[in-house]
């Protein structure tokens, strides 16, 4: 009995050690937050467009087609790296990509898109981060996959890269089904 009491803290210590070790080796990013909007309708909003003199009205524009919503800015370096993959995705059939230009300079964005190519079917302006807050954005870039019913199905925090591109395309196809 006494021996058990003596040994129990050591056993407990090793169990805690094991738990910590497990959390250390699994592939996880503790600063990445789950989105609250998964399986919810896209937020309702109105926004001005960068390239046309029109107003974009949500959720009306999200119906009929699977849509990617990409928050980007010219001041964001990972967005530039990601751009190549967005262009690749824009070749995909039955997929629309909407860009939300987050707290940026419009002139600079137009130049940026001319230089790097424009994968977006429309570019929305978000000068005061209000759209970003509505979508729960906390760091650029972020990409949402919205299904043809206007329901948000997935969020990627951080850029689409060589490493996660295939997995991301798979997610898009899953949502399209």
């Amino acid at each position: 009995m006494k021996k058990g009491i003596l040994i129990s803290p050591i056993i407990l210590f090793f169990i805690i050690l094991l738990v910590f070790f497990y959390l250390l080796i699994i592939d996880r990013n503790p600063s990445e937050l789950p989105s609250m909007l998964i399986n919810k309708k896209v937020p309702a909003f109105e926004a001005k467009l960068l390239l046309e003199n029109k107003t974009f009205v949500s959720p009306g524009e999200f119906e009929n087609e699977t849509t990617l919503v990409n928050f980007f800015a010219t001041w964001c370096k990972p967005c530039r790296d990601e751009h190549h993959y967005l262009r690749k995705l824009s070749d995909e059939k039955g997929l629309k990509i909407i860009g939300i230009n987050y707290k940026d300079d419009s002139k600079r964005t137009i130049k940026w898109l001319e230089k790097l190519g424009n994968p977006f079917s429309s570019v929305l302006l978000d000068p005061n981060a209000r759209l970003g807050i509505d979508w729960g954005v906390y760091g650029l870039p972020e990409t949402f996959i919205v299904n043809s019913n206007g329901m948000i199905k997935y969020r990627l925090v951080g850029p689409i890269t060589k490493r996660n591109y295939d997995a991301f395309v798979l997610k898009v196809k899953e949502v399209k089904k």
């Binding site: 600063s31 937050l33 609250m36 909007l37 807050i133 509505d134 979508w135 906390y138 760091g139």
Partner: protein
């Protein structure tokens, strides 16, 4: 001597914690009405900055923290209650944005565990005391 040094050390640590308590609210963000401004400050102190994740938006100088501070003030000016503002933010960013986690079934452990440990601690001290008392009588 050691005690004096320890006291000085504790004093320094405490005073530093007071100095660290600085704020990032910029003058152009202030509301004219001091009562409303106070409400905005109190809400901001309870809202986590999602960029730094260990500071409130009241203390953080991250751009998102500033945007949220401004938004909270706009909402106050529009006549929203504190609850409505908290609700607005948690709907978009989850309970994680609150520095004080709400008491829910999923957070029950978080709230109860300290008291469980306190009880265990008291129990252990009590046990230990009893034992040493018995030893004293045996002498």
């Amino acid at each position: 001597m050691q005690r004096i040094l320890l006291a000085i050390l504790v004093y320094l640590m405490m005073s530093q914690s007071i100095i660290i308590n600085c704020y990032s609210v910029e003058p152009d963000e202030f509301l004219q009405n001091p009562k409303k401004e106070l409400r905005a400050r109190n809400i901001s102190k309870n809202i986590r900055c999602l960029v730094c994740q260990n500071q409130s938006i009241d203390e953080s100088s991250a751009p998102l923290a500033k945007d949220l501070r401004i938004l909270i003030r706009i909402k106050i000016e529009q006549g929203n209650s504190d609850e409505e503002i908290y609700d607005f933010l948690t709907k978009r960013y989850g309970d994680f944005i609150l520095l004080n986690p709400p008491l829910k079934i999923s957070t029950l452990f978080l709230w109860i565990l300290p008291f469980v440990f306190l009880a265990i601690g008291i129990f252990v001290i009590f046990l230990h005391n009893n034992k040493s008392k018995k030893l004293d009588y045996n002498k």
